[in-house]
């Protein structure tokens, strides 16, 4: 048994010992302990160092709102988690935990020198101190500040754990399983409604777990709790979930729950998910989240050993742990008096209760006297002493606003209570309004935007009896609203602990306020002085004060600090708190792992990989792949020992000399059919379609209504009323969306049907002088001669016995065919053609070679050579715009003043002076390389490749007034040198197009 554990006391299992390590040292705890309770049982309060000043810190709370006791936990490679709250992490045999933000050790930390330099680190210190010289910011100041300030270290390896996610629908979701939540669950559950009740702790009960003295309906609190949970578990319509935090409250009563599944287990079952995200859609929500204790603000309120009175009570009654041997209570609220009495009853020496109030209930004074506790009414705390643990507290009487001389009282635990703040985070997520209760000086829930009910301490009600009553009513209202009839139970309570209190700004002191380290935000090291400084320096809104001081911006999201920060800022501004405002609470309520949000959407499930029917062949033939939108495409097919450059050069050469084959299945395909198909095509595309005969193709150009190029592709007319439209690989879905938009909303009178057929067709492109020779023997029902089937023809025929749509088109400048067959025949046909192609040394090629071959011909790729600000004329394809058409999408915009202005960027070719120099795609172009920086940039390189056919590099670029610069030398400044190139036409190879007719 450890020194501070009281045998048999509390709800932990004293008979089951658990061993764990903290900072390398082995400690003993018992089943049911958190890291914090187990360390406290060993007399350890020092659990971390603070963010900025590296001050020694211990736990101040016993729950998820903990700002100080943050630890890293590890289960081995990739399973390290920083910033875990020691007050929440359960211990198990073999747990390894370590403290954070210290070097070399927790007891002796070099960074604590910051504490002495606190004048440098006041509010806004980044903005003031590190302004000069400018260049030092990136290289010196920021890295040093980031290394010195901070919380845990982020994990550096991929997380191997799995995370689950589920949807859930229910009538009533109850958040919080304290007395209010449980009473709500009983009422709603008994009504027959579908109830879900969640609690972030390991067991349900809330305050009841720390207050075993209360009698409910004639039973002890814990017997009542046990009976209540048994009853709820016995109802098929009630689901109880522990270790489950409601992290966010979203529209239409959707609440996100983060459920921890394995972090408390010594042995994790194989493949068990670590956490599960529940997306609950509830008809009604009951928020029974209780209240969070509020710190008192005085010099040295952050030393290890200074904690909430309520937390000390929880450690004592729930975990059977004494937080010290000699305690002093300092409070402005009645609740801390009960803590003092419980501690005294458990054998802790309570040296004194210092209450800021002048009037105390006589029965409190009497009970204190009975237990031999000194009572100091109308007192303040002016300071504390002790380095790694509080040693003493200085208390002063306050009479008529004057602070008297201090008196030092030795203690190893200083237990404070500055009142209670209703927990309204989730309610705030819904944009529910908050009303200021000027008497209690708290915000209470006001107007609601969602179907929710707030019960218990969350709306300022104090005591178990009121919480039970209010919870039962809220559960009833919720169940009735969901359509059930209810009966509200009665819960008579004896030995309840009620009372009230007052709240304060900084406690009055006789010491120099300028030197006081009176903390408001423990986690971000914000003091009262910082808040006042921010106001002096002109911040008036609490939103500005928050950002200037970082108050409330740490991982605890201001659960402890927001109200004190607001009270002090309001005092400094000289206005009432609500006039200064409250910062907005945002999800998540507590830190939540990325894994929980990601759920199943990781690795291969993060984004699907689309594969063509021929992908398997490419993989077996060792293709290198590249992603193109969601597709995985064969990039090039390296022979053994080849790098990409050599492979692509070989593929290009083979295609131009004899025959290349290419998997073009990813090409977007849309079938446009119906009596009005041609009219629809006329309105959508720039080109005229009426006179295009069935069996012929045309290059189609699609603009946005703003006149800029959106997409392109070859379109074949299969019959009078049917078009086979192809789009860019990445643009298919966008184009279909755009077509549907116009068809459904602008021209609903047109009789046209649009069908995405991208995945229905496998497309094999054959290019090269021997392309016809290869396929001729396979084709049935179509004469392939130049006369019968010229360039830009399409035919529905059979290829190798498979029904096919055969196109004679070319994206390489060579004689070319594209065979579309139903996707399931794609690989079969590919293999047949590949086998037959051996006589022509057929060469499978990938997307890189496709890019080189098309660039040699000056064919653009939308999205690479165009960027959403390029018109048809800019791209040099004004010929594709029908001149006599009455209208098409984007036509009017082509006459916009900016689009007809001189000097627009135009697509041109670039040939570098040195034929071996390869320009970088995206590189900026200037006319005069000697001009001062910043230079005037007149364009950029859009495509750049090594051309095997030309034996040199080629590039495409958009350049201001490009077509009037033919032959001009332009310059491309790079980090190490300036490159020069001449402007040329965009067609580098076979400008007459003779090879198409081969």
């Amino acid at each position: 048994m450890t020194a501070f554990r009281i045998p048999g006391k509390g709800r932990v299992n004293h008979d089951t010992a658990v061993r764990f390590r903290f900072d390398g040292k082995s400690y003993g705890g018992v089943e049911g302990d958190t890291v914090a309770s187990a360390l406290l049982a060993n007399g350890v309060h020092l659990m971390g160092r603070s963010f900025k000043y590296h001050r020694p810190r211990g736990p101040v709370t016993a729950g998820s709102e903990e700002p100080n006791a943050l630890i890293g936990t590890s289960r081995g490679k990739g399973r390290f988690e920083p910033n875990t709250r020691a007050t929440v992490q359960e211990i198990y045999d073999g747990l390894k935990a370590e403290s954070q933000n210290k070097w070399p050790s927790l007891n002796f930390d070099i960074g604590a020198v910051n504490d002495r330099l606190y004048m440098l680190f006041s509010a806004g210190f980044y903005y003031k101190t590190f302004m000069w010289p400018k260049s030092f910011w990136d290289r010196v100041y920021e890295p040093v500040i980031r290394a010195a300030a901070g919380l845990g270290v982020s994990p550096s390896e991929p997380d191997p754990d799995s995370y689950a996610s589920r949807y859930l629908h229910c009538d009533v979701l109850i958040v919080g399983a304290g007395p209010a939540g449980l009473a709500a669950a009983l009422t709603a559950g008994r009504s027959g409604s579908d109830v879900v009740i969640v609690d972030e702790h390991t067991e349900m009960g809330g305050t009841l777990l720390s207050e075993d003295q209360v009698q409910i309906a004639g039973q002890s609190a814990w017997d009542w709790l046990s009976a209540t949970l048994d009853e709820l578990k016995g109802m098929n319509n009630v689901r109880l979930m522990t270790r489950t935090t409601a992290i966010g409250y979203y529209h239409q009563n959707m609440v996100a729950l983060s459920q921890k599944l394995t972090d408390h287990l010594a042995a994790v079952p194989g493949n068990a998910p670590r956490e599960r995200m529940w997306r609950v859609r509830a008809n009604q929500v009951v928020l029974a989240q209780g209240a969070i204790e509020r710190p008192l603000v005085f010099d040295g309120n952050d030393r290890p050993g200074v904690m909430f009175a309520g937390a000390a009570q929880t450690y004592l009654n729930r975990y059977g742990v004494k937080v010290g041997e000699r305690a002093v209570i300092v409070t402005s609220h009645d609740s801390a008096w009960y803590c003092a009495f419980d501690l005294a009853d458990a054998g802790v020496a309570v040296a004194a209760i210092a209450d800021t109030r002048d009037e105390i209930a006589p029965e409190f004074a009497q009970m204190a006297a009975d237990k031999g506790i000194e009572v100091l009414k109308g007192h303040t705390v002016s300071s504390t002493t002790g380095r790694l643990r509080v040693k003493s507290v200085l208390v002063n009487p306050v009479r008529n606003g004057k602070v008297g001389a201090s008196r030092t009282i030795d203690c190893d635990a200083l237990l404070m209570c500055g009142g209670w703040t209703p927990s309204l985070h989730l309610f705030s997520h819904t944009k529910g309004s908050l009303n200021w209760d000027s008497e209690a000086e708290v915000f209470l829930p006001g107007d609601k935007t969602e179907a929710c009910h707030i019960a218990g301490a969350g709306r300022g009600l104090w005591g178990i009896a009121r919480a039970l009553e209010d919870g039962a009513n809220a559960g009833s209202e919720a169940a009735i609203a969901a359509g059930y009839a209810t009966e509200v139970g009665l819960y008579p309570v004896e030995a309840d602990r009620t009372g009230g209190g007052v709240t304060h700004k900084e406690l009055p002191s006789d010491r120099d306020a300028g030197k006081a380290k009176a903390f408001i935000d423990f986690q971000n090291d914000v003091t009262a002085k910082d808040i006042r400084l921010a106001v002096r320096e002109g911040m008036r809104s609490i939103e500005h004060v928050k950002r200037y001081t970082t108050n409330g911006m740490a991982t605890d999201q201001g659960k402890l600090s927001n109200m004190n920060g607001l009270t002090i800022a309001a005092d400094a501004v000289g206005k009432e708190a609500p006039k200064v405002g409250l910062t907005t609470f945002r999800p998540p309520y507590t830190p939540t792992s990325f894994g929980t949000f990601a759920g199943y959407h990781k690795d291969a499930h993060f984004e699907l990989t689309r594969k063509t029917p021929i992908d398997g062949w490419a993989e077996e033939n060792e293709a290198a792949f590249e992603p193109v939108s969601l597709w995985r495409r064969a990039w090039y097919f390296p022979l053994s020992g080849e790098d990409m450059h050599r492979a692509v050069a070989r593929e290009c050469k083979a295609t131009r000399q004899s025959l290349g084959m290419f998997d073009a299945s990813t090409l977007g395909k849309i079938e446009v059919s119906g009596p009005d198909a041609v009219e629809f095509m006329n309105r959508m595309y720039t080109n005229p379609w009426t006179k295009l005969a069935a069996g012929r193709c045309r290059y189609g150009l699609l603009l946005g209504e703003d006149g800029y190029i959106r997409d392109d592709g070859v379109i074949g007319r299969l019959s009078q009323d049917k078009f086979h439209v192809t789009t860019t690989t990445g643009g298919a879905a966008r184009v279909l969306n755009m077509m549907e938009d116009y068809l459904q909303t602008e021209w609903p009178d047109l009789k046209v049907w649009l069908t995405s057929t991208t995945e229905q067709w496998a497309t094999i492109a054959l290019n090269g002088p021997n392309a016809r020779k290869l396929i001729e023997p396979f084709v049935e029902g179509q004469d392939l001669s130049e006369e019968a089937f010229p360039h830009m023809s399409v035919s529905e025929c059979k290829v190798a016995g498979i029904p096919a749509r055969l196109f004679r088109i070319s994206f390489t400048g060579e004689l070319g065919f594209e065979i579309n067959v139903p996707a399931r025949y794609g690989r079969e046909l590919w293999e047949k053609l590949y086998e037959a192609g051996q006589q022509y040394d057929v060469c499978p090629y990938g997307t890189e070679t496709m890019h080189v071959l098309r660039a040699e011909k000056g064919y653009i790729i939308v999205g690479q050579d165009t960027d959403g600000t390029v018109t048809p004329d800019d791209a040099g394809i004004g010929w594709a715009v029908g001149k006599k058409k009455p209208d098409f999408v984007g036509m009017r915009s082509l006459k916009r003043p900016d689009l007809v202005a001189e000097g627009r960027k135009q697509l041109v070719g670039l040939l570098t002076d040195d034929p071996k120099t390869l320009l970088e795609e995206g590189a900026q172009i200037v006319a005069d390389p000697k001009q001062p920086i910043p230079m005037k940039m007149i364009g950029h390189v859009t495509s750049s490749y090594w051309s095997e056919a030309l034996g040199r590099t080629i590039a495409l670029a958009v350049v201001e007034g490009g077509r009037s610069r033919m032959g001009e030398s332009l310059h491309i400044p790079m980090p190490d040198r300036v490159l020069s190139a001449k402007v040329t036409e965009t067609v580098f190879y076979d400008p007459e197009g003779e090879r198409l007719k081969a």
Binding site: T449, D706, P748, R892
Partner: protein, 100 residues
């Protein structure tokens, strides 16, 4: 996540099934060529960005794929109503009734 009523499916379904499609009731002019530069600019670029009730288009992209119209309060992010493309916008009186 919002729940959105598709007026074609007549079902209230999660936002994941839908895609936003810009402001509603901006008709493409009958004869764009007849428009002045200013009129065409307004059609192309000028949008309401209203604080409060906003008429907008959505598409049930992962469902029936139809475009439809909606009235949403941009402050509360609540839908007042949805209706089929081509039907007239609800009157102010109707919207006031829906807002209650």
């Amino acid at each position: 996540m919002l729940l959105i009523h598709c007026p074609y499916c007549d079902e209230t379904l999660p936002e994941l099934e839908f895609a936003y499609a810009g402001e509603a009731h901006i008709d493409r002019p009958e004869d764009p060529s007849a428009m002045t530069d200013e009129e065409w600019r307004d059609f192309l670029f000028i949008r309401n960005n209203k604080r409060g009730t906003h008429f907008e288009r959505w598409r049930h992209i992962n469902g029936c794929a139809r475009f439809f119209n909606a009235v949403r309060d941009t402050v509360s992010d609540k839908f007042l109503t949805t209706y089929k493309a081509g039907t007239p916008r609800p009157s102010d009186a109707e919207l006031e009734e829906l807002g209650k």
